[in-house]
Subunit: 421 residues, 2 copies
């Protein structure tokens, strides 16, 4: 354990030193390194898949469930996909060096904010080995060095991937120390890592609620965390009901296991009698289970819905389940959302201009929609090109986070002898 | 104590509820409230100065030193100044509602980031009562509600100022609960406040290093903190030496007690023999004490300088003292800065283009200067109109923080029936 901490401390020092070089690399060198990573993922496929097989077999023997095993598993086609994602990152514009708020002050000093990397990003993640490549490539592109701590279940896969990455960036002229992988899976190392503020500038936790919560509570450095999505769609009295069916169907069914899927459907009472059977019929075909409040229960009695319990409000289902509630007004919908949403994504379906504007103004969530599916909350869909995660915090970044959200800025002032009067 | 915590919790709930209304107030209502505060500070001068007199007398009797007493003291002219600052905040553009990155996505959804308030700002501060007004007005203008916890020494002054503010905003039609002042000065309340993440979105500590450190370590919500300034000025081999004298003189002498004043002067060896006596002569007139490394000590022997001890490097003097060191190269200067600076403000004095560009690129500080005094690091000087503080962190905001840094954004998406394919 003592030697593990020493190794961690040494890697921290090395990655910090490398970050100073990485921050000033030309875009073409960073892109060359990224393309080299993509190439090596293909050319060293066997080495990676062999390592992944070890993890897979151990996890299976230890009784890991099918869904988790599937997340852990790599094959040739998944590696191709991962490599393609790295090529996409290479093709994105480099955020570093962008100048903004640039101007000449009254005393003729030139001033600008210049976009620069954070420095060192620490990443703590669970079973999916693709995170190793995914986050490393986003950090590299944004000029950040990275220190990775993966889960025990994918240690062989992660270790192999980190080796491939380090070799590839070295060939491209990027310091190898810019990507550090922690080989030990001792649990205590995580707590130690969360206190290493001299070598880690920002921590990104990638995994379940437990991990994210632990990191957020214990890290002494800032945390860039993705939050839980408890997403509401409100069908207003003035909604186009066919559109409302298409949107609520898409929001719940298109990919129910993700954070931007619909969890709670709110329906205005003047359209509930007509609308609820319409959506219930479509949802029934897809196998969606409805947990209804009293009024919705009565309207939908022929569909045999379940009564909602208190815990159904404010619940992220991540499954083909939706809570359904009838409300008497836009105000009641807004209050329900204020109380139960996790401030991720909410939508109103309406043709009423004032209701739409009020919803956009008053709902305090990262992403607020009129007449569209909350499933669009995604870095790729929003045109960021890549996604580090979706923040439900208000500090630094909110909603989908791309490369820019891995950066900060410095003030650059070019004078000609100015002193303060 | 139990009742104090209950009061704090109740104020937390009230301020959170008020923040929802405050976020949507028109600019003209917010400005009206600000102008009303300025007016009341003048019209209720006697009430405020009487309360301040109580604090002052108690502090004096308790043996508070002159400098601290001076910070605590209010008089008619200081109140005029505080009122004028509030009028300045009223005259600034409202940051709320600004749209940025607005565009139409390929599927014809309209998307924008819209600037919105954080919600509730918690402020923990020490003796200066002007912070009560200063921060309240910045929060109000940026649509944030505020909960204030001032120091024990200025409790009567703060309480009177908070009363004046609450009455003034009420008259202007702003919910009184949007400004909450904690009357109890129990120390334990601070720790409790730092855990109230359901009602406080961001914490701002205003005071000495001890307070800022405690808040940063213990708050569970994000902290917007001003950092210590250990500021370097490097006189390059290609410096215009007269300019270098004017700038180093200004950076050290114009106001030595503030964070952006010069702490360490680095001088290239090829100009040290000529430059050091020039600056030493000027500094001597102002009473600046020099703590020199060996080479500077030898060059400046006729000025009787003190030898620098190890603790002089990386020290914020806040006084007419400067550490002085001769370096052999720009690289050595950069290394020294990397090691000892607090990442606040650093300057290079040079006529060499490449040296200037390298310094701007490689120094990882909030503000980097060529040929100008670090004393310019200030929200007002940078054109922000107002200043919340100067951040030496990299997250959310860096360097001088104005109204914009008290805000976040939400993504607003206006669709016409789009669903995710």
């Amino acid at each position: 354990m003592q030697s593990d901490i020493e190794e961690l401390e040494n890697k921290g020092k090395a990655v910090k030193a490398a970050s100073r070089k990485l921050a000033h690399l030309p875009t073409e060198v960073k892109n060359k390194a990224l393309l080299k990573i993509a190439e090596s993922l293909i050319s060293r496929e066997q080495e990676i898949l062999d390592a992944n097989r070890l993890d897979y077999d151990e996890a299976k023997a230890a009784g890991m469930d099918e869904a988790m095993l599937d997340r852990l598993m790599l094959d040739s086609s998944r590696l191709q996909g991962i490599a393609q994602d790295v090529r996409t990152v290479a093709s994105l514009p480099d955020p570093i060096g962008e100048a903004f708020d640039a101007r000449t002050l009254p005393n003729r000093m030139r001033i600008e904010r210049r976009r620069v990397p954070m420095g060192v990003i620490g990443v703590i993640y669970e079973s999916r080995p693709n995170v190793t490549v995914d986050i490393s490539s986003l950090c590299l592109k944004s000029g950040n060095a990275v220190i990775l701590r993966g889960g025990k279940e994918s240690i062989h896969s992660n270790s192999a991937l980190a080796r491939v990455i380090k070799d590839a960036i070295h060939e491209a002229g990027v310091p190898q120390d810019a990507v550090q992988f922690i080989e030990s899976t001792e649990r205590e190392l995580v707590s130690h890592m969360l206190r290493m503020k001299d070598s880690i500038d920002v921590i990104i936790p990638r995994g379940g609620e437990g991990l994210v919560g632990f990191v957020t509570e214990n890290a002494v450095m800032p945390v860039l965390a993705s939050g839980v999505g408890i997403c509401h769609t409100y069908v207003d009295s003035a909604a186009d009901l066919d559109e409302a069916v298409a949107i609520a169907y898409n929001a719940k069914v298109q990919r129910p296991t993700v954070c931007n899927a619909l969890d709670c459907l709110l329906v205005h009472n003047v359209v509930a009698e007509r609308y609820l059977p319409m959506i219930a019929k479509e949802w029934a075909k897809a196998g969606v289970e409805m947990h209804c409040d009293e009024r919705a229960l009565r309207i939908l009695s022929s569909f045999n819905p379940a009564p909602a319990s208190d815990s159904d409000w404010g619940k992220e289902f991540l499954a083909l389940i939706a809570a359904v509630k009838v409300v008497d007004s836009l105000d009641e919908a807004l209050e329900h959302i204020e109380r139960y949403s996790s401030k991720h994504s909410e939508a109103i379906i309406t043709e009423d201009y004032t209701a739409a504007m009020r919803f956009l103004e008053e709902v305090d969530s990262s992403c607020v929609y009129v007449n569209a599916s909350t499933r669009f909350t995604d870095g790729g869909q929003f045109g960021l090109g890549a996604e580090v995660g979706i923040s439900t915090n208000k500090f630094h970044a909110r909603g989908p986070m791309g490369l820019k959200e891995l950066t900060t800025y410095k003030w650059v002032i070019m004078g000609s002898g100015q002193v303060r009067p």
